[in-house]
Symmetry: C2
Subunit: 193 residues, 2 copies
DNA sequence: AAATAGCCTTGATCTAGATCAAGAGAAAGT
DNA sequence: ACTTTCTCTTGATCTAGATCAAGGCTATTT
């Protein structure tokens, strides 16, 4: 249940066996079936979720009912509405499972407690957040700089697993384009080898 | 020289006088004239810069010579190419001064040393990075969800200082639209009161 | 094995925003 | 004071990508 998590943490800070045992106590394990919600818009996001197994997504829904993908998370990723989680204000996003999933949930009090009791985890989260900033910066630049086709090519290059594992219409939404446009782009790319 | 910085840090973690004195030793103060570069694309970003006074921007330039604004930073903000700084790989962005500026520079070794010697600063940066993630998430959602006009209205509402202080064509670039489009949007908004 | 729903594709048409072009102020440099 | 360079505006035209519509293919569900 904690295998993926410990591997992930140990890549950034090395934990003793005792620290690993202590760490376990902060989490609430949870299983989620495909299509089940972890969080719905306007509820407060009470947990950050670490994905041990499966695949989740976070997204918002606009006035016209269109979904806009913010993030996908599979084995080894965290997912939450960061703002809602930290501020305890209502969430702006939905989070649900694209594939059946096993999660480790961490509440805000447990998160605060963990970072204070285990300084290595303060460091782990700082590094995690750093990497998250870098990823978001890239996506942002991509979204304001490149054409739909270029965005898709860059995503395929930087994240091949995502392109293989996620349904195409969700990738389109992640890129900020329509499913029709993505379909045509892919057809075009095949056409030119 | 450190006034804005200490105020900013003390909002997140409270420092003793001794800690403040110790903190000063990690920084390299620097003044930058309008239009001067702090960082050029392909150089390694050796410093994170805290802005004590003035206004900087980070941006990249595409194949056709168009600039795309990633961030603006004035009094109380940090600016860097986060990826380049942490990885010591060549930078993807340029950073320069829009207004004359006074900066506090922090190198990677000093950053690492600071977070290890002063645990409060580890915490400060974790919180800083958290807030940065939240801001970038918002901008990302905005960029894939809303029309040009809606993006501009949301930016004006959430960041009035930015809209007043930054030249219009740079705001257009920040929003991922052309200066002509932004000009027309503003004309239109005035027209309807 | 049917029925249903979800996903992808293709075609026809429309539109928000880009591009190209030119001029007018405002600011900055000499 | 006089260029020169920026910045913003307005008009005319173009285009990438959206929207609307429909059909086929694959999974699920019953």
């Amino acid at each position: 249940m904690f295998d993926v998590f410990f591997t992930h943490v140990n890549e950034k800070v090395s934990l003793t066996i005792a620290e690993q045992e202590q760490l376990k106590t902060f989490f609430l394990p949870k299983k989620l079936r495909k299509k089940q919600y972890l969080l719905q818009e306007d509820d407060v996001c009470r947990y950050m979720a670490f994905v041990e197994k499966g695949l989740l997504r976070s997204y918002n829904v606009d006035d016209r009912g269109n979904e806009h993908m913010l993030q996908f998370a599979w084995e080894g990723w965290w997912i939450a509405d960061t703002y809602s989680f930290l501020s305890e204000e209502p969430a702006a996003y939905n989070i649900d499972a694209i594939e059946d999933a096993e999660l480790l949930l961490l509440s805000l009090p447990q998160f605060e407690e963990m970072t204070l009791q285990i300084p290595k985890m303060e460091r782990y989260f700082r590094i995690l957040f750093q990497n998250n900033i870098i990823a978001k910066e890239r996506r942002l630049i991509s979204s304001i700089t490149y054409s739909a086709e270029e965005k898709y090519l860059r995503l395929s290059a930087s994240n091949p697993e995502l392109v293989q594992r996620i349904p195409q219409h969700l990738i389109a939404s992640y890129l900020g384009i329509t499913p029709e446009t993505l379909s045509r782009i892919r057809k075009n790319l095949l056409h030119r080898q």
